[in-house]
Structures are given as C-alpha cells and as structure tokens.
C-alpha cells in the first residue's frame, strides 16, 4: 500500500511540475507578444537571429530534405509496383513532403541546431550574470534576447520548409525518374494534379507553429537555467527533448484540424 501511494505521489508531482512548466512557457509567450508590439523593435538583432536560424541551417536542411525525398521515392516505388501504380510515386513524395515531412523534419533539424544553441547561449548568459546585467542596465531581457529569437524562429522555419519541400521533391524525381525509370511527364503531371496549394500552405502554417515552439522552449529553458556549466548542459538537453516532443505531438493535432 505504501509503495502504491509513493508511486502515486511521484506521479502527481511529475504531472504538477509538467503543468506548471507549461503554464510558465505560456506566460513567457504572452510576455513575448506584449514586448513584440512595443517599439522600438531592434531590426539588427532580429536579422542577426534570422541569419543564425535560417541561413546557417540551410545546408543541413538541404541534406535532410533531399535524402528524405529520395528514400520516399525508393520505398514508394517498391510498394506501388505491387499493384502497378508506380506513376503515383511523384505525388506521394510531394504530398508527404509538403504536408508532413518538410515541416516536421525541418523543425526537428532546426531544434537540434538553433533551439539547442538558444538554450545554451541564454543559459550561459544567465549563469554568468549577463541577464542580470541587462536588468541592471534597465533593458528587458525578454525584449532584447527572446523576442528576436522567437520572430526568427516563426519566420525562418517556414522558409526553410519551402527549401526542404523543393529539394525533397527534386530528390524524389531524381530517384524515381533517373534511377527507377518512371516516366518524367507522368511523375510531374501527377504532382500538379494531386498536390494543391492548400497542402503547401497548411504545411507552412505548421512550420511557423513549430518555429514558435522550438524557439520559445529553447529560450525558456536557457532563460531559467541555474547551476553553472552543468545547468547549461541540462537546459540544452531538456530544450531539445521537450521541443522535439512538443513538435511531434502538436503535429498530430494540427494535422487533425487542418486536413
């Protein structure tokens, strides 16, 4: 009985801690919104973050996008060949990329690259009193540090998703047409026939939501770091794990609402 109540106690505490954390992240979100509309908006800071989140993630997004498209074509081809529907490989690759894999894989890669860096950078600033220094100099750290990062996340993840969608389809085309011998005209025709603009838009809306999630969680974890170098490491790991899980879970709900 004692063991049972102990386990229940631990479960309760975990759930409470989780709910409390969600509340705090939501409050940070409200605070970011409030500071976002208050001038002056430091464009230089925002562009710097956009460069970091966007431009510097292009290579890794190109790589993941291309290979995902290629493997989708390869797998799809073997499946569709069983009932002679190889012509559908192109549209399958395009639909999977635009609706699902483009936004999800891009945001997971950006989480690993930029979300983790946000947590580490803000965490280091916290433990070396640089965030306190901002307060002392009458500068709000949410406005100065977090707003530019969140704006960069929301704007750049969709842009990277467009890149990922494009190279994914291109990779699929290369494998489908050049390696597996599907007719090039049929491949493209089926894409234009079955993929609507809405598929692409909805994918991009998802990407913007994921960009918000990864930057907000990265900043939250970094901003609330304590405990020196070990704390920074822990914050970084937690940011990547929590952001990745939240992206995957919210992906289901966003898909259920949109499509």
């Amino acid at each position: 009985m004692n063991r049972f109540s102990g386990a229940l106690d631990r479960l309760g505490r975990t759930v409470l801690a989780g709910v409390e954390e969600m509340g705090k992240i939501f409050l940070l979100f409200i605070s970011v919104l409030a500071w976002m509309v208050r001038p002056p908006l430091k464009l230089r800071n925002i562009f710097k973050q956009m460069e970091f989140v966007g431009v510097k993630s292009i290579f890794v997004v190109l790589l993941t996008g291309t290979f995902t498209g290629m493997v989708l074509a390869l797998q799809g081809y073997h499946g569709f060949r069983m009932f002679s529907a190889e012509s559908l490989v192109g549209s399958t690759v395009a639909l999977s990329m635009t609706r699902e894999l483009g936004p999800v894989l891009t945001s997971l890669m950006v989480t690993a690259r930029a979300g983790s860096a946000m947590a580490a950078e803000l965490g280091t600033m916290r433990v070396t009193e640089q965030i306190d220094a901002l307060y002392v100099m009458a500068v709000n750290p949410v406005k100065h540090l977090i707003v530019p990062r969140v704006i960069a996340g929301v704007l750049m993840v969709p842009v990277l998703t467009v890149v990922s969608d494009f190279v994914g389809i291109l990779g699929g085309y290369f494998v489908g047409v050049h390696l597996l011998g599907i007719n090039s005209g049929v491949f493209i025709k089926n894409i234009t026939r079955l993929v609507t603009l809405e598929d692409i838009y909805n994918g991009l809306i998802k990407a913007a939501c994921f960009g918000l999630i990864l930057s907000l969680i990265g900043c939250y974890k970094g901003f609330n770091t304590s405990g020196g170098a070990e704390g920074v490491g822990r914050a970084t790991t937690e940011a990547v794990v929590l952001a990745s899980i939240t992206i995957l879970v919210s992906d289901y709900f966003l898909t259920a609402i949109m499509f």
Binding site: E121, E129, D132, Y135, V136, M137, A138, V139, N140
Partner: protein, 248 residues
C-alpha cells in the same frame, strides 16, 4: 540616499536576510563585509531590484523600489551602475559594443559621440585601443575594468561593486582599488562595495557594515571597526579559525 528597512529574504527554508537595517550615505563608499555565502550578494541584488524582499523596504531617495513596477524601477535603475563579480560582459559583443550598450539603449547619441564616449570611458579605466577585442581575449583584471567602464557609461549616481577584487593578483587588486577611489571622488559617487578582502576594505571604505547571520551586526568607520571588540568582527578581521564564526 539608500536606506534598507527591516529587510527579510528567504529561499525556501533557508533564511538569508533576517531584518537588515542599513543607511548608505550619499557620496561615500560603504563596504559590506561578511563571510562567503552569507548573503552579501543577495543584499546587493535587493538594492537594485534584481531580487524582491519577502518583507521590508528598499528606499532609494525615498522611493520604495520593492513595490515598484518594472517601468518605474527601470527609471530608477538608470541612476545605477553595477560591476559584477565576473564583470558579466556580453560575450557576443566586442569591448566597444559592451561599453556602448547602455548609451545605444537609452540615449539618442550619434555614432561618433558614442565612439568618443566609449574611448573616454575606457581611457578613464586605463585601457586604450581595446574596442575591437572580444571579452574572451581579455584578462580577468581587464574584464573588470571594462565592466567598470560600462557601469559608468551613463554617469550613474550610485555604483554597486560585487567583489571587485576577488580572484585578482595583488597588483591588479591595488589598481582596481585605486580606480574605485578615483572614480568615486571624481564623480562624487555613492558606492556600495561587497568584499571580504580585508586590505581593500580599509583602503576604499568610508563606512563599513558587517553582515552576519542575516543581520548587520557592526557599522562604523574603518577605525571604529578596527577597534571593535565584537568577537565576530575580531575573528573576521584576524582570519582566525577560533571564534563564533563556524566553519561549515
């Protein structure tokens, strides 16, 4: 003038400040001494509103900042400068950008004026031509001097120093002490210094306050404190391990 009235602060079950009453004289240097981990930094953070007390008042020129909202608190903070223990320079910015940071945030100075002010502030702490360096390229002493240049960029009335000489060699310690004394005299600053470096305390302090177990147990001029018969004070100044201060 700064006055702390019956200031209490606990973190969880640990009581750090248990009723602090302290008056910090305008235009003078007050040094707060006490053992490591005894709440000196916590006390300093209350003076600038980085921490809020559980109860009590922090009066800056008669205004209780413990109850102020952020925008009003920020107006008061503009009168302050603070030198952090490890200088807390922004490591993504150059030295020049660090010193220019408060000017860019709070003034409408032109770039040329900012550059001149930055060079002037750096010169006043004995540094020239370091504007383009990154903080990571500087030694500990240089970082603290850049921190002081940044803290004094906006011509503050009050400057807070969190252990300004900890971790420095004796020569650099002396240089920083001189710098604090000169800057204080030049601008008639109100300085609050946290330290446990006995030599520095007597050199720079006009007034000294001893913090022990969450309370100010002694307050006076350096001479008065040297002559104090309070056993805690005697033990602290002599650095003896025998006495009321327990070694944990």
């Amino acid at each position: 003038m700064i006055r702390l009235v019956d200031l209490h602060k606990s973190f969880g079950k640990q009581k750090v400040l248990g009723g602090i009453d302290l008056r910090i004289e305008e235009g003078k240097t007050t040094v707060i001494i006490g053992r490591s981990g005894g709440g000196k930094s916590v006390l300093l953070k209350h003076i600038i509103g980085l921490l809020r007390p559980d109860s009590g008042q922090v009066l800056i020129n008669g205004t209780d900042i413990a109850k102020l909202g952020e925008s009003k608190l920020n107006e008061i903070r503009k009168k302050f400068g603070m030198l952090f223990q490890e200088a807390a320079l922004f490591d993504s910015m150059t030295v020049g950008e660090n010193v220019a940071f408060p000017l860019r945030e709070h003034t409408r100075m032109k770039e040329k004026e900012i550059r001149e002010t930055v060079a002037d502030r750096l010169h006043s702490v004995g540094l020239t031509g370091v504007e383009e360096k990154m903080p990571s390229e500087l030694s500990g002493g240089m970082r603290k001097r850049v921190g002081l240049a940044r803290a004094s960029a906006m011509h503050p009335q009050i400057v807070l120093f969190d252990e300004p000489t900890t971790g420095l060699d004796p020569v650099m310690t002396e240089a920083i002490n001189r710098l604090i004394i000169d800057t204080q005299k030049k601008f008639n600053l109100t300085c609050v210094v946290i330290s446990h470096d006995i030599q520095s305390i007597f050199e720079i302090g006009d007034w000294i306050a001893m913090l022990y177990e969450g309370k100010i147990i002694e307050y006076g001029t350096p001479e008065e404190l040297r002559a104090s018969r309070n056993p805690v004070m005697v033990q602290f100044l002599s650095g003896s391990i025998e006495g009321p201060i327990q070694i944990i």
